[in-house]
Assembly symmetry: C2
Homo-oligomer: 219 residues x 2
Amino acid sequence: MPMKIAPSEITICGRTYDEYIEMVKAFHGHVAPGMVLGGFLVDLAHQNLPKGEFFDAICETRACLPDAIQLLTPCTVGNGWLRIIDLGRFALSLFEKYTGDGVRVYVDSQKLNDWPELKAFLFKLKPKKEQDSEALIREINLAHTSIFGVQKVMVNLDAIKSSHRHTFTICPLCGEGYPKDDGDICLGCQGEAPYLSCATTGLQKTDTTTPVTKRLWGR
Amino acid sequence: MPMKIAPSEITICGRTYDEYIEMVKAFHGHVAPGMVLGGFLVDLAHQNLPKGEFFDAICETRACLPDAIQLLTPCTVGNGWLRIIDLGRFALSLFEKYTGDGVRVYVDSQKLNDWPELKAFLFKLKPKKEQDSEALIREINLAHTSIFGVQKVMVNLDAIKSSHRHTFTICPLCGEGYPKDDGDICLGCQGEAPYLSCATTGLQKTDTTTPVTKRLWGR
């Protein structure tokens, strides 16, 4: 078993462990095991960055890890520097945006045998209700980055190029702006909108001055 | 032209305008016009929430708006409460997760004629370099929520159900854990990984204690 490290000795992209946990609570809503694991994974990637100035991120899962990346790097979904390509693997890459030169970090399955709770969590061997969250997070902290692997990657920049939508026009059906390349009517009116019904209302906005608070664990 | 409101009078989900702008800088990296517009849109949606306790979000564009939602509501990509369905429309819905009952807010194209910079921005009528960012953000602030529309929607919960991946196994090619439902080998090894090359290295992590800072506008 690798050397045990107390959370107080762990830093995550320059933050203390406790600072990161507070960030997680505020943004993600609760301290999910995947967010702790994800923080360590982002930290390891960051420590192995190749030379370069502008790094983009690829996240290979939708679960938790995108939030760790958004909290700890400049890359977010909305600024376009984080792309989620859901391959179902708990892994991420940081790469230089002009050359594609990058680092990939992942969970190494061969290193999980010493960590039964963590293995059960990653392979979904237990129903969530039977999960011992405290024991799991304790194991994640003890394992720290010892269960990860690091790879040098060259990202296929053509494959991840986002479709640029240069020209916008008004959809003759819904009357909203949409990218002309999508067709004569917008994708929503082509049947891709996820609504059973949609009706313009005379809803009035009310004055609310209370901040929306993050929902808590247990939802 | 609708009544002008000074930024100092604007609140966004209970925050002051300036507080929100600081949040945007810290998370998104720069004060993008779409983030200001997005903040007002999320605020209007929030003010028109139907009754209910647990709200999820749908975002109909990948540009900026997902970050406004992540900053101002409990919904993030990583906790699964925000789904991005990229229809290319600057619109979002907040809906009760068990009933689908929700509110959709959008930019009403018919209300843009008083706002030339804003119209040029939304319909990409000008190259980004010719955009007068200050004038644009001034217009966004003056227009505030007057250019938006509100709709009552019923979300098709079946259509947005995420594919649950219950069983994980080890991919015989890459050796990493992946959802068994994806096939005999993981999606990455099936050719969906965006890498031209990928090699395990003996990269050593180095000790970095400086926080990763957000990159600034102008990148």
